[in-house]
Amino acid sequence: MSSVPENGTPIRNELFAGRVRSAWLFLTPMIVTLLIVAAWPLSRSIWFSFSDASLGHFRDAQFYGIKNYFKTITMDSGAIHHFGVLVDPAWWNAVYNTFRFGIVSVTLETVLGLAVALVLNANFKGRGFVRAAILIPWAIPTVVSAKIWGWMLNDQLGIFNDILLRLHIISEKIAWTADSNYSMFTIVMVDTWKTLPFMALLILAGLQQIPGDVYEAAEVDGVHPLSVFWNITLPLVRPALMVAVIFRMLDALRIFDLVYILTPNSSQTKTMAVISRENMFDFDKLGYGSAESTVLFLILLITVIAYIKIGRVNLEGNN
């Protein structure tokens, strides 16, 4: 890496070598941690996906080829059947659910988050308090808030139905979590409630990077407020917005806890992470579930790379 430049003086090279040394010194703890908590489990589950592992025997699991992903069985009758994750309709339904959820909720959260951030960026009394208060939904552990919502949305006892009935918005009680017509809507709503603050604060940080004098220049230029938003605020907050969307998209595409607690058995909401856990632990197909996890990982990877390329996101922080 540090090839000696032809006319480089020895002193500069020593300096450079010193910098490389201290860079490694600072990076090593993080690399070791990542290897232990990320690389090791990841490689384990990739290994399982190519084995016949089950909960009972995963230490002595046998290599199984790609049969968890795809295998062909020819029956005595001559009929040919395909099995494996790649041809499993339940899996592809989960992929569809996950992306539907991810796109709808992240879009909703981005638009609403931007709106909330614009409000919070304005000067008003008690702004600091509101900024702190809005973080509460984000701070509550998902399991807890999902349980709370589960109760509020309960079709018989829930306060949600009660209020809507009293306001005559609905005429009969709705099973928000159990009814397959509403379960996805419910998940999106609760997820938006929970992650809006995170989105809003990330965008707010971006808004505060925009120098105020630019807005004054626009005021002197007589730029209409809507045009200021489209032509100045939005382009300038875009880098922060794009990064916020990546974070949320990664989070949304591996959503598990909310679905697992609110609508555990609805095929309308079953996501990739939920179905993979189900195969691993409920059906004792550790190898098959691992194969699904591995595909989930690949899908996330491809999505993020595509997003960064298409959106020309600058993650390096330089201009």
Binding site: V214, A217, E219, V220, D221, G222, V223, L236, N319
Partner: protein, 332 residues
């Protein structure tokens, strides 16, 4: 063209009164410079005229029409900010075109105006660059260009040269002076705390202190007939020499002031003292003479000085060049 009349204007930020009652008439086509120490309210005055801040009391009128409640964009002004305030994501061309394009000018009209301004400010090669790809001086010229294309009746400059190095300041100062000549009848209001900028650019200078106007007048008026001690000390470099006590008594004043170029060495009579330091500038020499006051007196001679450091000398003011001040600091 627009004459601006400012009547009894005050401005408070919360409980803090920053502008404490200012009356000023700015003539159409005039180059008015605001000077004063830091924090005296120069920028605030400019922002009040621009409409970026609300006036607490009093009126500002353009051509007789009160504009207190008029939005900045409706006042026919253009402003050049100290920090440039360029749109960071737009090219030089877009920066200049943005405001007028939205103002309803046709595409050809926009193009023409931007080209002319760019030509005038030697920005044509940079039209496709982003502000971050420009030097400080080029950014400053873009900011000026953005103001020019608006074709304003009033130009407002807030310390536009303070971020530039010395050579660039002189060059850009010249640009601004040329700009004022080429744009007939455009009123310019220019904030600075640079002496030289004020003296060289201004038709009239307005000296502010602590939210009040101390004096308004042409550069020479302020130089030759300062109203009070503050203006006398603020205008001119090096600072005017102030003397009191036994020095002032013969002039029937509480204190007197003499500029360094109005002092001369005399063979006898005058004020005795000792040279303690000399600054040789090439064309001039400034000798610092200890007359027994807390501050040394500074005397200017053309060329080199006859007196070295430690020389015993005698100083006297030239005839009719002594400024006299009363106890309250007013000129007499």
């Amino acid at each position: 063209m627009a004459n601006i009349s400012i009547k009894n204007v005050t401005k408070s930020f919360g409980a803090v009164k920053v502008i404490k009652g200012v009356d000023l008439e700015i003539k159409s086509g005039e180059f008015m410079v605001f000077v004063g120490p830091s924090g005296c309210g120069k920028s605030t005055m400019l922002r009040l005229i621009a409409g970026l801040e609300d006036i607490t009391s009093g009126t500002i009128a353009f051509e007789g029409k009160v504009v207190n409640a008029l939005a900045p964009s409706d006042r026919g002004i253009a402003m050049v900010f100290q920090s440039y305030a360029l749109y960071p994501h737009m090219t030089v061309y877009q920066n200049m075109a943005f405001g007028i394009k939205l103002g309803g000018a046709t595409k050809e009209e926009v193009e023409k105006r931007v080209r002319i301004a760019a030509e005038m400010l030697q920005l044509t090669p940079y039209l496709d660059r982003l502000p971050k790809q420009l030097s400080g001086g080029q950014r400053q010229r873009v900011a000026i260009g953005r103001a020019i294309v608006r074709d304003p009746k009033v130009f407002l400059f807030d310390e536009p040269l303070s971020n530039l190095d010395a050579a660039l300041r002189v060059a850009t100062r010249l640009e601004i002076a040329k700009l004022h000549h080429s744009m007939n009848n455009v009123t310019m209001i220019y904030v600075t705390h640079d002496q030289v900028e004020a003296m060289t650019l201004a038709d009239r200078i307005c000296v502010l202190r602590d939210g009040y106007i101390e004096q308004v007048g042409t550069p020479l008026e302020l130089y030759e007939k300062p109203n009070n001690l503050f203006v006398a000390g603020f205008i001119g470099s090096p600072k005017m020499n102030f003397l009191n006590g036994k020095f002032a008594a013969p002039y029937k004043a509480n204190s007197i002031g003499v500029r360094s170029e109005h002092l001369e060495f005399v063979a006898k009579g005058g004020w005795p003292g000792k040279v303690i330091h000399a600054e040789k500038m090439g064309s001039d020499t400034y000798s610092f003479v200890d007359l027994g006051m807390t501050e040394p007196a500074i005397i200017r001679e053309t060329g080199t000085s006859r007196h070295g450091v430690d020389a015993k000398v005698s100083l006297a003011p030239m005839k009719d060049k002594v400024h006299r001040f009363a106890v309250d600091g007013k000129s007499i």
